[in-house]
């Protein structure tokens, strides 16, 4: 999921709120597909496709209808709530009890439950990273990265920046929905409200990863994101060790994010915000 958030946040330089909607959507799609008896791997793929469509919607709202990216994300997120609810046939919670999931497939290889989760998680994360790295080295991938970096220059080189943004939104939300699908299979249920805070978690993972290791190639960066996500979990676990009430959990994670976001600024004031350039194209 961190990878998905990374795509829009860093590559496209946008904060995409759609994440909060596409995450539970992915969970709902995967769960319902499995309940209907569809192969869990296909079900997870279906979650990915659902995310692609959610991203497509935000992308079109943002580029073609010129709604600012933050608002476009919120709009899609809000709409997705109903759609996810529909997918789950108006239940707030759907259980996967006793059904096969991608993790039980791994368990069938003779792994224990925990090892199965780790193994399957790693396989999928590595697969996604591998595909993304290959993609970002293609002509279209380069064009997408350039679009996030310098839209004006990209347009001057004939890149259709709007299309690139839409594609970015799609892939990003596809990854987020995929992770939503995986999490619901791990938890054993899909939850309509599981999306709350996903963006925060994703951003935290990115920032932690960037604070730890910088100036890496694109593949390296995606790998450190996984590390960042794990470390963020560890920090949270640490916080909870200090007897934080469950209801305060979100506050605690928000605070952790604030700390993560501000700390690096004291050491490297220029690095993280990436320098907003003022285009000033209408000067004469």
């Amino acid at each position: 999921m961190a990878i998905g958030v990374y795509l829009t946040f860093r590559i496209l330089d946008l904060a995409d709120m759609t994440a909060e909607g596409s995450f539970p959507l992915g969970g709902a799609i995967a769960t319902m597909c499995i309940i209907k008896g569809i192969n869990p791997i296909l079900a997870t793929g279906a979650a990915f496709i659902g995310g692609l469509i959610a991203g497509l919607v935000t992308g079109i709202l943002n580029t073609k209808l010129r709604i600012p990216s933050l608002l476009a994300g919120i709009i899609t997120m809000t709409g997705l709530y109903s759609i996810t609810s529909r997918v789950m046939q108006n239940a707030a919670n759907v259980s996967l009890l006793g059904k096969d999931t991608v993790f039980t497939i791994a368990q069938n290889w003779g792994l224990s439950r925990n090892n199965a989760v780790i193994a399957m998680g790693l396989i999928i994360a590595l697969l996604v990273i591998f595909l993304l790295v290959v993609f970002f080295k293609t002509e279209i991938g380069l064009a997408m990265r350039a679009t996030g970096d310098n839209p004006q220059m990209s347009a001057a080189n004939g890149i259709k920046t709007q299309g690139m943004k839409i594609l970015g939104y799609m892939i990003s939300n596809g990854c987020i929905a995929l992770s939503g699908g995986l999490l619901s299979q791990n938890n054993g249920f899909a939850d309509l409200n599981s999306g709350v805070g996903t963006l925060v978690i994703g951003l935290a993972s990115i920032i932690i990863a960037e604070v730890l290791l910088r100036n890496l190639s694109i593949g390296g960066r995606l790998l450190t994101l996984v590390l960042g996500a794990i470390i963020y979990r560890l920090i949270l676990a640490l916080v909870f060790q200090m007897n934080v009430e469950p209801s305060d959990a979100k506050l605690a994670s928000a605070l952790v994010l604030v700390v993560c976001l501000t700390l690096p600024n004291f050491h490297l004031p220029h690095n993280l915000k990436g320098g907003k350039k003022d285009a000033g194209s209408t000067k004469n």
């Binding site: 293609t138 380069l142 310098n150 001057a156 080189n157 004939g158 890149i159 350039k277 004469n284």
Partner: protein, 267 residues
């Protein structure tokens, strides 16, 4: 000589219909022949950048017509025009994508205006070509293909931007005060490189500059804009024999108003 660019009666008005209405271009008519290297000068607000933005397509055309190689491009978006027009911006940061490497930037420019697919962005055979191209800059960049552009100096980046603009031969290259943000020494290097690339490939070029000396020294034709119109248009021998005082004199004669040297140089 075949005509490359034809501008017919181009008008641009900002904030039309308000009290702040500003008629920036008031009827520009220009014809550029193949191989023309035109320098454009004019004080602030004369319409230099607006003219360039109109040709590049970043500003929609309100009135008038732009024809490139016989095709009407008046209504084409920037991305379509990019097939035939390349551009170097004033700010060295503008011409390159900072988080991409040198070779990735060059590869992007190689595909300017073409379809992009799922083939590798940087191809093996391209790398050799890039090295050769970078070597001619004499900036020791040929061994830094995998350096992120953001780590290079302004001058180096501007040199690479120039290279990118000419990698895939454009029908027209637009230079928008591309040396203004550089220190004097780097500025000279980049100007010399500009001249070399333009003459080697027989490019048709538009160069906006604030520097009168440069405007006179480079190119085969000089245009001075004043209040949205072409005030002076010199080519051939007239252009070659031009000096700064002569240009000032000409300008005063044409416009009929006094003009301080500094007004243009420092504007």
């Amino acid at each position: 000589m075949p005509e490359v660019l034809k501008i017919k009666n181009l008008h641009q008005t900002f904030e039309r219909g308000t009290v702040n209405e500003n008629r920036v271009l008031r009827g520009i008519d220009l014809n550029l022949e193949a191989g023309d290297f035109v320098t454009i000068i004019g004080s602030n607000g004369a319409g230099k950048s607006t003219l360039l933005n109109s040709i590049a397509g970043t500003l929609p055309i309100q009135e008038g017509q732009i024809i490139l190689n016989g095709n009407d491009i008046t209504k084409l978006p920037v991305t379509k025009r990019a097939q035939n027009i390349s551009r170097v911006f004033q700010d060295p940061k503008m011409g390159t994508a900072v988080r991409l490497t040198v070779e990735e930037n060059l590869a992007l420019a190689m595909k300017r205006g073409q379809r992009r697919g799922f083939r590798p962005g940087v191809k093996k055979q391209d790398r050799k070509f890039f090295k050769k191209q970078l070597a001619q800059l004499n900036l020791n960049l040929e061994n830094r293909l995998e350096t992120e552009i953001g780590l290079l100096s302004g001058g180096q980046r501007q040199a690479i931007t120039l290279l990118m603009a000419t990698l895939q031969r454009p029908d027209l290259i637009l230079l928008d005060e591309h040396t203004a943000a550089l220190d004097p020494q780097t500025s000279i290097t980049v100007m010399q490189l500009t001249e070399k690339l333009i003459s080697e490939q027989h490019l048709t070029a538009f160069m906006v500059t604030h520097n009168m000396e440069d405007a006179i020294r480079y190119g085969n034709r000089l245009i001075m804009l004043h209040q949205g119109r072409v005030a002076i248009d010199l080519a051939g021998e007239d252009k070659q024999n031009l000096t700064v005082p002569k240009l000032m004199e000409l300008f005063q004669k044409h416009v009929g108003a006094g003009l301080e040297d500094d007004a243009i140089l420092l504007a």
